[in-house]
Symmetry: C2
Subunit: 341 residues, 2 copies
Amino acid sequence: MPVTLHDLARKLGVSVATVSRALSGAPGVAEETRRRIVEAAEAMQYRPNVLAQRLQKQRTDTIGFIIPTFGPRFSDPFFSELLAGIGNEAAVHEYDLLVSTRPPGEEEMIAYERMVQERRVDGLLVVRTRRHDPRIEYLQSHHFPFVAFGRCEAEEPFPYVDVDGEAGMYRLTHHLIAKGHRRIAYITVSDALMFSHYRIQGYRRALEEAGLPFDAELIVEAGMSDEEGFRAGQALLRREPPPTAIIAATDLIALGVMGAAESCGVQVGSDLAVAGFDDISLASLAHPPLTTLRQPIYAIGQTICRMLLERILQGTIAEPYRLLQPELIVRASTDFVYPSE
Amino acid sequence: MPVTLHDLARKLGVSVATVSRALSGAPGVAEETRRRIVEAAEAMQYRPNVLAQRLQKQRTDTIGFIIPTFGPRFSDPFFSELLAGIGNEAAVHEYDLLVSTRPPGEEEMIAYERMVQERRVDGLLVVRTRRHDPRIEYLQSHHFPFVAFGRCEAEEPFPYVDVDGEAGMYRLTHHLIAKGHRRIAYITVSDALMFSHYRIQGYRRALEEAGLPFDAELIVEAGMSDEEGFRAGQALLRREPPPTAIIAATDLIALGVMGAAESCGVQVGSDLAVAGFDDISLASLAHPPLTTLRQPIYAIGQTICRMLLERILQGTIAEPYRLLQPELIVRASTDFVYPSE
DNA sequence: CTTGACATCGTAAACGTTTTCGCTTATACT
DNA sequence: AGTATAAGCGAAAACGTTTACGATGTCAAG
C-alpha cells in the first residue's frame, strides 16, 4: 500500500492540510514543522497520488497528440522526429504526453471527442492540417486549447506553426527552370491536405512566371509513402516524352521515385532530376543525394508544444502565428544543367 | 460547466448511485428507470469525468511507453511503425497511451520512476532492451506489470516478444558465404544492446561454421543512424583489401553504407554486397534494393500491447515468451556470386 | 491592559465518481 | 396470514488530494 498524506499526518500528529501545505511549498507553515514533514515524507517514501491531485485541481497536466496514420504499415521518419521534439519539450515542463494513432476520418474524430469531452488532456496538438479541417472546427467550437502544425482555411484564426511550402516549392521549381528544365513533373498528395495545396501552388506560380505551360499530364497524385512514390514515378516515366525533372511533395515520395527511375534504367542526376521536401536524414544519403527543402521538424515539435503550454498556463500566446521559410538544399539529384532545346 | 452525475440525479429525482448504476450497466436498477436515465444523459450530453473514475477505481486505464531517443535528430522509421501497432491495439481496448521520449540513462530512469511510483499508468512497455537492463530490474523489483520487446540477461524471467537475431544473422551470413564471399565485414551497434549482442553472435557462428577467421579489422561499431552507417561504411571501404560484403546491424545503417559506397565509387550489388536487418519500407526501394531480415514491427507492437493488457486485466499471460523468426529477404544488393579465389 | 495584526495550524468541504450497506416494497411460498 | 426472498433504490463512505475558512496563540502598539 502506498503511503498517503493521511499516513504522514497521523505519524507526525499534524493535519493533512499542514502536510499538504508543507510539501507543496505553500505559505502558512512554520519552518521547523515543514522540515519535520519533509524529512518524514522522504523517509516514508511518500509520492503524491496524481489521480487525486488531478481530480482536485481539475487539470490533467497532460497534452494530447493524435497521429494520423495512413495504412497499417505506417513508417514515417517524419513523425518520430516530430514526436521526439514534442516529447522532450513536454518533459521539460513536467507534462505528460498522451498519444493516439488513428487513421483520418470517423474514428479520428471520436478520439478527439474523447480527449476533449472526457477531459483527458489540457490541450491538443493538431498536425497535418486539412483545407477544411473538422478537427479544428470542433476544437474551436468547444474553445479547447490547441496549436496546429499547419494552417487551414478556417473562419477563425488559430495558433499555428507552419512552413511556407508555397515559397519553398516556388524556389525549388525556379531552381530547376534555371537549370534548363522545361518538362517538370510534379507528384502531389491529396489536395485536401493543406500543405499539399500550398506546395503545388508554389510549383504553379514558378511555371507561370517562367511562361511555362501547366501540363496536367505531368501531375500525378500519390499517397504519402515511398511505395506510392515508386508507382507514381513509374507512371510519369512512361509519359511521351518523359519529364526531365520530377518534384515530389515529400522526400519519402521522392525516394520512391528514385527507386522507380532505377527500375526503369534512368540515371537520376544525369537523365532525370528529382527533388523532394522535408530533408529527412535519408535524403542526404540517397543515391544520388537528394535536393530538397529543409524544414526543422524537431524544432517545430518543440515549438508547437511550447506554444500549447503557453496557452494552457498563461491563457494566451505571445506569437501565435509562425510561418517559417524552408531552406533549399541543392544536392546532386538536380545538380546538372539540362541542355536547352 | 460540464454536467455531472449530481446534475442528472437532481434533474430526475433519483440518487447519484442509481444514475451511476444505470449508466455503467450494473444490475439493481429497473429497466424503466434505466431508460429514463440513459435518455436524460444523452439529452444533457453527460460525459463521465475520467479523473474521478480513475481516482475511485484506482486504475488509470493507461499504459506507458518510454521511447529511448538517440540524439536530437531522432529519425527512425522503426519507431513510428511500432508506435502505430501499439497505439491502434490500445485504442481497440479503450486504453490510453502515455508516451515519453528520453535518451537512455539517468533521465530515462526518472521517467520510469515517475510512471511507476506516481501511478500514472497501469503497465509499461519496454523496448530496445539492454544486456544488463536497469529498467527491467526496477520494474521487477516493484512488481510492476510490463512487457518487453527484446530479451535481457536478467535473473528472473519476464514476458517478452523478441525476434531471433542470432538465427537471422546466421542465415544471412551463411547466404553471403554461399555466394562466395570470404571477407565479410560487420557493422555492429553498442554491445550493451541485447539485440545487437545476439545479431553479431549469429554472424560469428556462421563464420566459425564455415571455417572463416574472425577478423577484428572487419568489425566496426556505429551509432544507430544512417549518418553513422555512412561513416562506418567509409571506414570499412578503406581497409586493405576492402571487404566484399558488409552486413549492418540495422537497415538504417545499411542505407548509410550504400551512401558511403556511392561516395567511394563502389557499385553496390556488383563490387560490394550490403545487407541489413529490419526490412523497413525504404529497404526495398534502395538502390539497389536491400537484402535484409524482415521482422513484423507493426504486429510486434500489437502483440506486446495485447500481452500487457492481458497481464493487467487477467493478472497473467497465456504465452509470455515469444521468439519470432525473421524472414530472410534476398534482394539485388547481395544477389551476385563473388568469384572464388 | 486592551486591541489588532499576524503566524500557525486544524476542520471541513470540495473534486466526481463507485460501491457497500441497509431500507423499503412487492412477490412468492408455506 | 405470515414469512422468506428478491428487486429497486438511497445514504454514505471511500478514493487522496487542495484550499477556504476559522480557531488559537503570540506579540507589538496604543
